[in-house]
């Protein structure tokens, strides 16, 4: 009696697992199956033609990569420095540390759309307007949605991810290493850069990759921060607008004049976006597992 109940219960939990994995499989299978039909070199390297029904998505790939690059340049070094402060200098029992840690944890869970609001109101309307008035005598240049402000907004969004992952990996470096280094007469700075950081390197990489993959997939913050549906030219200046893969998918699937005709392109765009974020995620997971094995040894 109880044995059969046991077996049913285990079977049910197995069923739930199978359902989840199957859903993942269906989503991926559907996208890969429909997406590869259209995928070609031209698709990756050409601009869209005929009202998005032909050609490729090169400008969207370019825009996404550029955005993510600018975002990482802003978020990763800044995040690493803050993490160093938290892990190496701050007193964990101090009120400042506890409150800041809580704020950062919280920021990691704030909806991305709120960052979009902040980006528009603060970066574009406040900072951008300020720059225009101070240096360009009020000519409209920085006070409009653009690559630079989208990258800044994204950087803020991914900053908590970087800080949390890097701090964790810095803390996982045994205290003996620091003590040994300090006892040998190294300064704290030398200890951090020559002993702690090299040990925590994989954690820093994981943080950066997770941030980048999150940045590549997020759309909500760039909706009004500078993503454009179609641009004839590639962005060459921080104040230019840019095309973005996620935004492309969103606009094309909601506002396309002919959904059936643009469906193949849409599927291939989704596939490219998916492959990009997955490669980043898988790299992060592999690095993390390596790190765990290394630590358990």
């Amino acid at each position: 009696m109880s044995k059969s109940f046991d077996r049913t219960f285990v079977a049910l939990t197995l069923l739930a697992t199978v359902i989840i994995v199957a859903m993942l499989g269906i989503i991926l299978g559907n996208i890969v199956y429909e997406g590869t039909a259209r995928l070609s070199w031209e698709f990756l390297s050409a601009a869209p033609r005929d009202g998005m029904r032909a050609g490729g998505i090169f400008p969207a790939i370019y825009g996404t990569v550029l955005l993510v690059l600018l975002m990482s340049i802003a978020a990763v070094p800044f995040g690493v420095v803050v993490a160093i402060y938290f892990a190496e200098y701050a007193r964990t029992e101090s009120r400042l540390y506890r409150w800041t840690r809580m704020a950062i944890n919280n920021l990691a869970g704030v909806p991305s759309i709120v960052f979009g609001l902040f980006g528009l109101g603060f970066f574009i309307q406040t900072i951008g307007r300020g720059i225009d008035q101070a240096f360009y005598s009020g000519r409209l240049l920085y006070c409009q949605p653009s690559l630079i402000w989208a990258a800044m907004t994204m950087a803020l969004l991914t900053l908590p991810v970087v800080i949390i992952t890097v701090e964790e990996s810095l803390r996982s470096v045994p205290r003996d290493y620091r003590e040994a280094s300090l006892a040998l007469g190294a300064t704290r700075l030398q200890t951090i850069f020559k002993v702690v950081l090299p040990q925590a390197w994989s954690g820093v990489m994981t943080g950066a990759i997770l941030a980048i993959s999150r940045g590549a997939g997020e759309v909500a913050p760039v909706l009004f921060a500078g993503a454009a549906y179609f641009l004839p030219l590639l962005p060459t200046h921080p104040t230019h607008q840019f095309m973005h893969m996620g935004y492309h998918v969103y606009v094309l699937s909601t506002q396309s004049p002919d959904v059936e005709a643009s469906k193949p392109i849409l599927y291939s765009t989704v596939l490219v976006l998916l492959v990009l974020t997955f490669l980043l995620n898988v790299t992060a997971i592999i690095i993390r597992n390596r790190m765990r094995q290394w630590m358990n040894r």
Partner: protein, 335 residues
Amino acid sequence: MKPLGNRDFDSRRTGSSADEAVPPVRKRHSAPGNLKWRRLLDRIAEKTIFSFAMAAIAIIVLIFVYVGREALPLLWENSEGATVAATFSPPFTWQPVSGVPKYNVLPLLLGTFKVTLIAMLIATPLALAAALFTAEFAPPAAREWIKPAIELLAGIPSVVIGFFVLIVLASWLQAVFGFDFRLNALTAGIGLGLAVIPIIYTISEDALTAVPRSYREASLALGASKTQTAVQVVFPAAMPGIAAALVLGFGRAIGETMIVLLVSGNAATFSLSLADPVRTMSATVASELGEVVFGSGHYRILFFIGTLLFLITSVLNWLGDRFNRNLRARLFGSA
């Protein structure tokens, strides 16, 4: 300096005492006067790192303050009927761009909670059962790949999930349930559920695996079956972590934007039916902020909605954090 008390170690003090204790012996390659210079550099670096950290904190505070500040004038201004009072008083309609704009956010709140609730009802049993299976019943070899696989689901950008639900799943659901509207609350809830499942799964699985092996051994030694052990010993022991998983999943669902923007139908209806299109708070901000005039009443109302989202998710995150700390305190005796 205060005595150390019961803190056995403080890296800051050890750091400075190590500095003072540097012996006069110099390495061969270090030039004379090097030590002084290194100490100066060390001090400058510490100050620089400190100011970077303070800048980060300032930015965080700025986000907290700024989004709310943009909504604040609603309390005393009244441009085109946009006031805080108007967001909660009748008529219960959201029509920000009409002759007489109506800014009642209750349809949006209702829509948000309706969709979120559906998502949670779908995601919770699936994710918790899968977490139990992975942590308690699965053979180790299977465990190795189930967790990364479900975590991959978390790595799918939400716009891709939204796209899949919009193009494929919505039609299937309509065929099965015979909806009048292809895009409705249930479709959005299911799409959102897909995004929430990996979050609830990962956090609760972590909590279950954190339960010490001795708990299981004690239970099994007393003659309990594996299922009894899992349900009556391990699961209750991991309860705070499970609660954290649910709360954080809920927070994610409330703020998620792209999925609901694509598949909810985006009509601000004041209805409880699952088959009606809905509009959530996040989708409202996402679809209307692009066309709004800077500083207008509508603009402020959208920031007000953003502030609400911010506050709700902050409370949920804070709760989740506390639950997680309770779990650690319970299992390991210290937070």
